[in-house]
Amino acid sequence: MEKNVPKKKKFSTKFLYSQKIAPYVFISPFVITFVIFFAYSIVNMVIMSFQNVAGAKSTFIGFENYAKILPNAVFRKALRNSIFYTIVSCALMIPIPLVMAAMLNSRHMRAKSFFRSITFIPALTSVVVAGVIFRLMFGELEGSFMNQVIGIFGKEPIVWLRTPLTVWIILFFLCLWRWTGVNMMYYLSGLQQIDSSLYESAAIDGAGTLQTFRYITIPLLKPTTIYVLTISIFGGMAMFSESYMIFNGNKSPNNVGTTLVGMLYRMGFEQGNMGIASAIGVIFLLIVLVVNVIQLFINGTFGRKEK
């Protein structure tokens, strides 16, 4: 049959049906988007972090941007805030959804789909709306919702949004409320992949509920946990809109809720200081890379490939 194909047409045919080229064609949409929207911007960001950026008149200034930013008190506070937020949110956002998913997956649970839906609904609301509602709920006057709630227990009204401790409580509360449903879904899908015969044999061997959870469920959910942990670290480090909405702008009192991204946004887009903002971006990128490499290393992701 090949002999019947005219020789002139061969180039295009060869190209279209080539087994060597086809894979590149298939991945090209991703590669092109990645190169244009990610790789190019990242390279440009690194270059700009060494510049005094002023449109066409940009000049290279060496490490001056880094020298300005690293000792800065506000930058350090933002860095601390971001790291603290990431650690605590990971500590909250893995065990709680895991336990809830296990409960929802249990045969004894009633109205499963109802609970599954309501825990997922917050993830579908806009963070803008959620932020505004939380801001009003945690108002500082006596009439605000939360002050009425604590009033029932005889407590004095609290200035929620200008006290560091309560600000963090609100931010974690918002985070839990919003993302528990999503993480729970990941765990639910992970749970359903576990072979039920494992549980059966464990039951025959006389294992209790807690034991099966500890020795079967948790180890077999490890891939899911790695994924959830990774996105939680990204999400935690990138936290910005929650703080922006709760404080009605990128200005929390004494920077209690200012994160690295908030600082970057303030320097770059509010004050037009792109060089400094790029330097923050580079530092941010390095931190996230290092953290994730360490985390993947500990979880053995690299080791497994070598087998």
Partner: protein, 442 residues
């Protein structure tokens, strides 16, 4: 069954992860709207950006008036309105890129310095020239640089006044007209606190109106001669100490919500939470819009000063409308801008519809303006604001917003005043200001 459930769960997880990724984008969702004037044939197309819905009608009506008076140079104006913060960010980014900028734009005072500093605006000196003798020039020149160029014109004069809640003042038996100096104000505050249990006023932690007012009275600014941040000054220390003294006495509280533009504060003020608030005259609009219960209860008086005989008026807040570099119709844009903001027609519209105190002095003596029985602002308040404008003349101190003011402002309203008046009340003002000064990146 199990398979279907699995699919549903996976699909939901996918949606969830997509949303997780899209999180930061949600904040810039602004829902902008547009308005146009009555287009005429052969009119020059111009684009305009603003962050305030009410300004759209002002600009489109002024374009119609302009077209009537200048049939040889008509304008077809399209005004786009968006949420303040995201609009300023977009404008700054567009200027940085040198592409996609409008011909003219409203720029709020807190952001203005960045635009002047980076040389994104066109000087309008020649277009303002014909109006020079009719307006308060310090309101125009403040939107300028050290070389004598100015780039923007405001909607209003922005004269700061004292709004007194007369129910509270009467209960305490004090006539606000007798309060001249800050010491008088403090004495009156003590009486008010004693007789009514209410604080005299509030101070913001997320904005700077009260401290800036006291600074301007002393002739002090937040930036130095070169335009660099200059927080550690004797005047600034004096101002912070004075406000702290009032906080200690219990006659000044931190504004609920942290500022004079928050939901909590509007409710608190409306219910008579404080005896007075010191804000510019454009704040009248907030009273008529958000504080219906204070109708016929508020009196407008002159602000307290440091020494008897000082000028009892300063200029605060504002929005500088400016022509953006890169416009194809530079001269037309400048002339239209000056006409809209400085002509009698423009200033009259601004007063009647927006409650903005006119920058044009002849209007202060025009009974049709000052005694207009249908004006909602004159009806709401017990005293006439024009008496204050007339009493203090035109030689008024405006804030210096040049150089790195925007950068300085961002620090003042996020950390400095929160620390000074709420969080670190015990840190001496000089140390606190030095720390704040050191934290500014420029």
């Amino acid at each position: 069954m199990k398979k279907r459930l699995m699919t549903t769960v996976l699909a939901a997880a996918l949606v969830g992860s997509a949303m997780f990724g899209a999180m930061p984008a949600a904040a810039s969702d602004d829902g902008s709207t547009q308005g146009t004037n009555t287009f005429v044939d052969g009119g020059t197309e111009m684009s305009f950006w603003t962050f305030q819905e009410l300004h759209v009608a002002f600009w489109t009506s002024m374009a119609d008036v302009w077209n009537e008076q200048n049939p040889d140079r008509p304008i077809n104006l399209t005004v786009t309105n968006g949420e303040s913060h995201s609009l300023h960010t977009k404008l700054l980014t567009a200027c940085e890129a040198g592409e996609g900028t409008p011909d003219i734009a409203d720029i709020e005072i807190g952001y203005y310095g960045s635009f002047v500093n980076k040389d994104y605006l066109i000087p309008i000196n020649d277009a303002v020239e014909p109006y020079k003798d009719d307006v308060v020039m310090s309101r125009v020149t403040m939107y300028g640089d050290r070389d004598g160029n100015y780039y923007g014109v405001d909607f209003h004069l922005g004269a700061t006044v004292a709004y007194y809640n007369m129910d509270i003042m009467n209960e305490a038996g004090i006539d606000p007209a007798d309060i001249v100096t800050w010491d008088d104000y403090i004495e009156a505050g003590k009486t008010v606190l004693e007789k009514t249990g209410k604080p005299m006023t509030a101070v913001e932690t997320n904005d700077l109106f009260l401290p800036q007012l006291m600074m301007l009275e002393l002739g002090a600014q937040y930036v130095d001669e070169e335009g660099n941040p200059n927080l550690v000054t004797d005047e600034h220390i004096q101002v912070i100490d004075k406000i702290r003294e009032m906080i200690d006495l219990g006659i000044v509280i931190v504004a609920p919500g942290g500022g004079f533009h928050t939901e909590e504060w509007y409710g608190f003020l409306d219910q008579g939470g404080v005896a007075s608030v010191l804000m510019p005259l454009w704040y009248m609009g907030r009273f008529t819009d958000y504080m219906p219960d204070l109708d016929q209860k508020m009196g407008i008086y002159q602000i307290p000063v440091w020494n008897e005989g000082d000028v009892r008026e300063v200029l605060q807040g504002g929005t500088g409308t400016s022509v953006i570099k890169g416009t194809a119709n530079e001269q037309l844009a400048k002339d239209f801008l000056a006409f809209a903001k400085l002509s009698k027609e423009g200033c009259t519209y601004e007063w009647n519809n927006l409650g903005f105190d006119p920058i044009r002095t002849e209007l202060w003596d025009d009974p049709e303006i000052t005694e207009n029985p249908d004006n909602k602002f004159l009806k709401y308040f017990l005293t006439n604001p024009f008496d204050i404008l007339k009493a203090n003349g035109t030689d008024l101190t405006a804030p210096d917003i040049s150089g790195l003011y925007s950068t300085t402002y961002a620090t003042l309203v996020s950390t400095t005043y929160a620390n000074a008046f709420e969080i670190s009340l015990d840190t001496p003002a000089a140390d606190l200001l030095q720390e704040e000064q050191d934290s500014i990146i420029f």
